[in-house]
């Protein structure tokens, strides 16, 4: 299979305009004849559904939560990037593009990233128009702060709840379209299969989570906006319901999965406290604007943090990366934290933690200013740890947070299945091997507000509206498959709970496919995962029936997919014999411990094709060519 990224020719700044001019349109009178399914209602899904509805398409919006306002984008804290250059500090579209390509360790598609930087400003304008209450200065202008991997202040924020405010903005627009009747909402409904007819995506099969009813929905195109998969690690900063099911089942129907091993481990999360834990909580990266990261200089220094004098502290990020200091990119900061903990200098119970200290900033700016900037985060930290971070440093440790990998898409956000579009975190396209802070919100909204509306029309203009109905044999088969999968899970009636399997998979993934990966650890994962999967299908216990609200059944289906997907991740990580961004192979490191990329052999997108469970997937490569930036060793020193 030849993977054609469909990047427009011509100079980088003109590519998107050129593509917009080339693409076909659907006339206003014809739009209502087309039906579009949008799965997921986070930033990408809500913005896409609302925008497509405004344009006059018939949109069906699906989410598994009780209301679309709960998509996990809501938990994003720190901010959203845009190349507005309001502070006059040297930012530009080109610089945001460059920072993002470099931050992704040169494993993203240049043209996509440039377009993202181009439309970033419109995202802010749109949010302001919707009434998103961004932080303002005393003159009434929008305020900015800086984030990791950038030397300019381009991050817009709404206290520590930027994701919430942006999502509620998109949610408002979506609600408006529901009222108008252009969007039909299906809450508490989970997509369990993609229906492909004559090689094109023509609908989905879903389960009503309240009644258990399995039904199909036909459409002229399908958009998956279903987020990332780091819950494969069990403990992550994702919501409990975040899962890989929608994208993985599309993969099983022929969509290629790109770079599944590129997962982001976020450096600033509250450390694990015990086996009971169901999730890890992020402390926004924005805290590193004012917080300083350190550990004691000597191993086993058990003094309270306040009793350790300056001379006995190692501010290791400032020491190793003086140019970026505490705002070094996430992959680099996470590895540095792991390194000092591996040396035995970690703090807190179990020694897996580093300090994030605000004493200096409080001394300089006063507690009031810090409270205004991060009050809600300090409160959240206090609730979880029972510690007061105004008086003692926070303890933080890296945790799985974001998936750069996702379904492969071309420049038009279309997957290898025509008519199947993938937006936001669910696709792979913009962040390479490491995402910079405040770029996820930017991408989700750019895809949903400003890109899909153009590119989907180009596909639809060539399709006959309503060509397929749910009576088609493929839909019938899809419903049977889903019902059969459910009955199979319920019939096992084994001894171990779904959570036990998920926890075991998570531990296995974290130890072997986590922050530091080796050939041996990956091979061990590849032998352990199939065994655990086999045990799951023999010994899992799912209570209740399929015809009622059954949360154990919901979890079981998602964990079943993680048990296959984990293997794909490990395989991808094993094949990529280099270190880049969040993918760190211990065999490939520079003398100073930094990631050692291999541009000669691995400067490509690895896109995997499903060949059957327990069969090796087939690798396809999309070579990455960099015409506008020079491939270089990433340096933040």
């Amino acid at each position: 299979m030849i993977l054609d990224g469909k990047t427009p020719s011509g100079p980088l700044p003109e590519k998107w305009d050129k593509r917009k001019q080339e693409m076909k349109l659907v006339s206003p009178a014809n739009k209502r004849k087309y039906r579009i399914i949008v799965v997921g209602t986070g930033l990408a899904g809500a913005s896409a559904a609302a925008t497509l509805g405004e344009l006059g398409y018939n949109v069906e919006s699906f989410c598994f939560q009780d209301t679309p306002r709960r998509g996990h984008s809501i938990a994003a804290q720190g901010g959203v990037n845009a190349a507005k250059n309001y502070p006059n500090d040297g930012d530009s579209i080109y610089r945001l593009f460059l920072d993002t390509v470099k931050g992704g360790d040169f494993r993203a598609r240049e043209s996509n990233v440039y377009r993202l930087a181009q439309v970033s400003g419109s995202v802010i304008d749109q949010a302001v128009a919707q009434g998103v209450p961004f932080a303002r200065d005393y003159a009434g202008y929008l305020d900015n702060r800086s984030f990791g991997g950038a030397q300019v202040s381009r991050t817009f924020y709404a206290r520590g709840q930027t994701g919430q405010q942006l999502l509620l903005g998109a949610f408002g627009s979506l609600m408006r379209q529901i009222r108008v009747g252009s969007v039909k909402l299906h809450p508490r409904t989970e997509m369990l299969d993609l229906v492909v007819v004559n090689g094109e995506a023509k609908g989905i099969t879903v389960r009503d989570l309240v009644t258990g009813e399995v039904s199909s929905h036909a459409a002229d195109a399908v958009c998956l906006c279903t987020g990332g998969y780091t819950n494969v690690f069990y403990l992550s900063t994702n919501a409990a319901g975040s899962n890989v099911t929608a994208t993985y089942r599309a993969f099983k129907k022929g969509a290629l999965f790109a770079n599944p091993c590129f997962t982001q481990i976020h450096p600033t999360c509250i450390p694990v406290t015990g086996d009971h834990q169901s999730k890890l909580t992020l402390m926004s990266e924005s805290l590193r604007n004012d917080g300083r990261v350190w550990v004691p200089k000597t191993k086993g220094d058990s003094r309270a943090p306040g009793d350790i004098p300056e001379t006995d502290r190692d501010y290791f990020l400032e020491r190793k990366y003086p140019a970026f200091g505490n705002l070094a990119p996430r992959d680099i900061s996470s590895r540095a934290a792991k390194e000092v903990c591996d040396e035995g200098r970690g703090v807190g119970p179990g020694g897996r933690g580093v300090y994030l200290d605000f004493a200096n900033a409080i001394g300089r700016l006063g507690e009031g200013t810090i409270r205004e900037r991060y009050g809600n985060l300090f409160e959240m930290y206090g609730q979880i740890t029972a510690e007061n971070a105004y008086q003692q440093p926070m303890r933080i440790y890296p945790a799985p947070h974001y998936a750069m990998g996702g379904l492969w898409v071309d420049y038009n956000l279309e997957s290898t299945i025509p008519g199947l579009f993938v937006l936001g975190e669910a696709n792979f396209s913009d962040h390479g091997a490491n995402r910079l802070g405040a770029s996820a919100l930017m991408q989700g909204l750019a895809d949903g507000y400003f890109i899909i509306s153009y590119t989907i029309a180009n596909y639809l203009a060539r399709a006959t509206p309503g060509a397929v109905t749910t009576n088609h044999a493929e839909f019938l088969k899809s419903r049977e498959d889903v019902a059969c999968f459910t009955s199979k899970l319920l019939a096992i009636n084994g001894k171990r709970t779904v959570n036990e399997f998920h926890r075991e998979l998570g531990r296995l993934m974290w130890e072997n496919v986590g922050m530091a990966r080796s050939e041996a650890s990956l091979k061990s994962a590849l032998s352990l995962i199939p065994r655990l999967r086999a045990e799951f299908w023999e010994n899992v216990k799912v209570t209740g029936t399929g015809t009622e609200l059954n949360q154990e059944l919901e979890k079981a289906g998602r964990v079943a997919d993680f048990l296959e997907f984990g293997e794909l991740m490990a395989l991808d990580a094993l094949h990529r014999n280099e270190s880049c961004g969040g993918h760190f192979r211990v065999e490939y490191e520079m003398p100073d411990g930094e990631a050692k990329r291999d541009d000669e052999n691995y400067c490509y997108v690895a896109a995997w094709e499903f060949k059957g469970v327990d069969k090796a997937p087939e690798l396809h490569k999309e070579p990455l060519t960099f015409e506008n930036v020079k491939l270089a060793v990433r340096s933040y020193k």
Binding site: A50, E54, Q65, D66, T67, R69, R70, H72, A75, S122, D125, Q126, V128, A129, Q130, G131, P133, F134, A135, R136, D137, G140, Y141, L142, Q161, Q164, Q165, L168, G172, S173, M175, I178, R179, P187, A239, A240, T273, G274, H276, Q277, S278, T281, L282, E379, M380, Q383, I384, A386, Y449, F450, K495, T497, N499, K541, T543, G544, E548, L549, Q551, E552
Partner: protein, 246 residues
């Protein structure tokens, strides 16, 4: 620690429902309330019993999904805290805890602790937004907003739509929820154009959905995990009177 729980079990909307006693053993003080329920549920599943159904998602206090009533208080006894952020260190060994769904006419029970809060979405659908079409909007800095107004709008915008305010209100009113959205949008210049219509249709929709009216009990503010203030209800009332006198 060990706890005795009385949990509301209800198979479906037509089932009468009842409190059922469970023993929660070996609960760690570092657990969140939901993790304590996870522990109880794992025990139930192992015995082949139906686990307790409850809504939850982000588990970091922002999605608003997990609201339930603990010892008679929606979102539990800890001030300004959602159930998922309530930790077991606030209970002690031997405590008895009563756990029930949010109760309100506009929130029918689906199962156990899971209720249908779709009525809140209906209020937003009626007009809880600024009708800005995607594209064609002015530059973000073309609209200057005094910092105090931006901060006030943000205070109101923090609502997570959990519905605790409704369950706490003797009238089952969604006035705090509605007022928070009305205030956020009416405080910002972008939202003024539609302000008069918005406050009227949202209030009407609220009553139409089976929510009661405000009786100034302030129970809503007392339980709100995001500390949304009843002053916003006064703002809604002012906006409402202004709109009606127009």
């Amino acid at each position: 620690m060990n706890l005795t729980l009385y949990v509301w079990r209800q198979k479906g909307p037509k089932d009468a429902g009842r409190l059922v006693r469970y023993e929660a053993k070996d609960v760690s003080p570092d657990m969140s309330f939901l993790e304590m329920l996870d522990l109880v549920n794992e025990g139930l599943v192992r015995k082949g019993d139906d686990p307790i159904a409850f809504d939850h998602d982000c588990r970091e206090g922002i999605c608003g999904m997990c609201a339930q009533v603990i010892n008679g208080i929606p979102q539990g006894p800890q001030k300004k805290t959602t159930v998922c952020q309530l930790h077991m260190r606030h209970f002690k060994n031997g405590d008895t805890i009563y756990i029930e769904p949010l109760r309100a006419r506009a929130f029918p029970v689906i199962r156990d602790l899971v209720v249908d809060r779709g009525s809140l979405d209906k209020i937003i659908q009626s007009g809880g937004y600024i009708s800005a079409h995607t594209g064609g909007v002015p530059d973000g800095n073309a609209i200057l907003i005094p910092k105090d107004d931006a901060d006030r709008a943000m205070d109101a915008a923090e609502c997570i739509g959990c519905g605790a305010c409704v369950a706490a209100c003797p009238n089952g009113s969604a006035m705090l929820f509605t007022a928070a959205k009305v205030t956020q949008l009416a405080t910002l210049p972008q939202g003024r154009t539609e302000a008069a219509r918005r406050v009227c249709v949202m209030t009407e929709e609220m009553l139409g959905q089976g929510f009661g009216n405000c009786g100034n009990h302030y129970e809503c503010q007392a339980v709100c995990p995001k500390d949304i203030k009843v002053q916003f209800i006064a703002k809604l009332n002012r906006e409402f009177i202004k709109a009606r006198l127009k």
